[in-house]
Symmetry: C2
Subunit: 371 residues, 2 copies
């Protein structure tokens, strides 16, 4: 039991659950939660608002004298950000029962060549590979899952609306690409003799931007967030380059078309520059997720009861909710954030907006608990 | 005294000198030498051949019973590669008496924010800032300086010629550039709202290639060996990018014209993409160096005596000799290397080619010692 009177348990990879038992504990619970890990040089609201906010919502319901029928559960998901092992939403992906992930987690290493299993062990999680399956959620564990999160975009702030009711999460994909050339000395190798893996990477980065813009839809976005050159010395022609590319859209087919264009560009660049395209790997290519009507209804009910204006909207960022949607009816509550900034230190949400989000979350969960 | 009977001394920054006193020690010495430091993931011949080869040449002359008139000195220069502090040929540059360098070495830090003076101290060199001036060579310390080096280009191997007599060293320059944008979340920030510092860097890298090719001369080369993105996460739009650019030519004006075009491109890209060009810094912009006729004559004499075919050629890579040329008549002996490879692990020179280089070096030094 923690201070709030929640029964706390942890699964084999470090997802943490705090349960407030309802009057009918055999029913599927109402879940909420988010993550507290962060990418380097980012902000302190992404994820954290949905964990501390969930605890605050529980506290609010307890103080109000509410008695849940279905149990309420707060989840702190592990490793939402792909920072270390290149796998985003590791905790919720595994909870969603994705067998390929359980298999690949036995092999995956970080950039220091430390395996996931060794890293987990040194962090105090003693598990064998078979324990990864124990993380899979049982069917009907949750009757609903609601995540509170900052918008990470500018719309709510710009329109002065305190609450966003998320109806869908855009479909994310990520790709790893490597080019290899002969490298050599930056002074001694004349230009016609070069096959520069760094310039191939530069061309591909610009091709990603072009294909995304050519989609014709404002909803298509693509980013080269990682571009690394080897050996990375000023007087050495890059002999290897590594890019990681993020592509998203609310339309899965349109996103996949962009990925195919990027693949063709990578091949063309490789041919034109005489470099080897040694890797073009789709790390993940997830479908979009739709919120469930029952959860959307509960969020709208809550906002109306609280007299808070709200807007139905799409989440362009993805979240643990994308994977929880595979095993539970899902919805998300968004709150405004300063200028839409996220994944950088200027990320900010006001106490008032966070309080509104917590109230909507609490009331929506209460309603879902009684259904 | 070392095993070869050389009197060894070291200066304040770690340049090491081994002297074989001649019969007229008051005369300027004949110097030779190179470096043993290396960039990451490089080969083991660049520099090393000129240090071990110099010792071998001395050994050869001693074994032959030669008695030098001018003293012979082997120099092992410190920090020829710019790996840690971004300053190439640190040892020979300082020996050449460049006051600006002595000043900037008091301030310079590595990428871990460790200062040059602290790094030197922790490596056992206890010096105050004023000791940097003690490294400056006295006028007429050397009557000649000859460096043995692998070609780092493919010409000698391709033409089957064992010896290159270097008549000039191409003029190197290096530039550091930084772009800054707003960054943000790779999913949530729509394309029109972005100012991506990584794409600005990609465009500039391709512009460097274009301006170099536009020079119209095969002798102009330009390389982006370093391109770093911040924060460097797949789901984060780069908010900062850092490039280091190397530009060289045997024609100083043509090289400087390319640098100016790169500067204009950086400004244009910054304007078009709405990113800030927060740095465009010329780290160094050195003039080319011509070999001295006396040293070229001695090398040609040696090759002819040894019945070795040779070719007069330009060094496109630069070396400590570029800076020794400021304080001494200078020349360089090149030997072939496998496919012209350098700055990568495949770098190789055959024992036979190294032996030929050592013989030419020894005989040229002997001749210069008697002049």
């Amino acid at each position: 039991m923690n201070e709030l009177g929640l029964a706390v348990r942890e699964d084999a990879v470090g997802n943490i659950f705090g349960r407030w038992e309802g009057s009918e504990p055999a029913l599927g619970a109402v879940g909420t939660g988010s993550h507290v890990d962060a990418i380097p040089f980012s902000g302190k609201y992404d994820g954290v608002v949905g964990v501390l906010g969930a605890l605050e919502a529980i506290s609010l319901l307890k103080r109000s004298g509410f008695q849940p029928k279905r149990s309420l559960e707060v989840i702190m998901f592990t490793s939402e950000e792909p920072t270390r092992f290149g796998i985003s939403c590791l905790g919720s992906r595994l909870m969603a029962g994705i067998e390929e992930l359980a298999q690949s987690l036995k092999m995956v290493v970080d950039n220091q060549n430390v395996s996931f299993l060794d890293a987990a062990e040194s962090a105090g999680y003693k598990m064998g590979p078979q324990d990864l399956h124990s993380v899979f959620l049982k069917k009907d564990s949750y009757s609903a899952f609601v995540e509170l999160h900052i918008e990470q975009g500018p719309i709510l702030e710009k329109e002065g609306i305190p609450v966003g009711v998320v109806t869908a999460i855009a479909a994310p994909a990520s790709i790893a690409v490597e080019f290899e050339g002969n490298g050599g000395h930056a002074g001694a190798v004349l230009m016609p003799a070069r096959n520069d893996a760094g310039l191939a990477a530069a061309e591909l980065a610009l091709a990603v931007e072009k294909h995304v813009l050519d989609s014709g839809s404002i909803d298509t976005v693509g980013t080269v967030g990682i571009l690394q050159l080897h050996p990375g010395a000023i007087n050495s022609i890059p002999s290897k380059s590594h890019l990681e590319i993020d592509v998203r859209d609310i339309d899965e087919k349109r996103r996949n078309d962009v990925i195919e264009k990027i693949r063709r560009s990578a091949k063309d660049i490789s041919k034109n520059r005489g470099v080897v395209l040694s890797e073009f790997k789709i790390i993940n290519k997830d479908p979009p997720a739709l919120s469930d009507k029952s959860v959307v209804d509960a969020m709208e009910f809550a906002a109306k009861q609280l007299n808070l204006e709200y807007k139905k909207m799409i989440s362009r960022a993805y979240h643990d909710s994308l994977f929880m949607a595979r095993v539970s009816p899902m919805g998300m509550v968004f709150i405004p954030c300063y200028k839409g900034y996220s994944h950088k230190p200027e990320e900010y949400a006001s106490p008032e907006d966070m309080a509104n989000g917590v109230k909507v979350l609490a009331l929506a969960m209460a309603k879902l608990s009684l259904e």
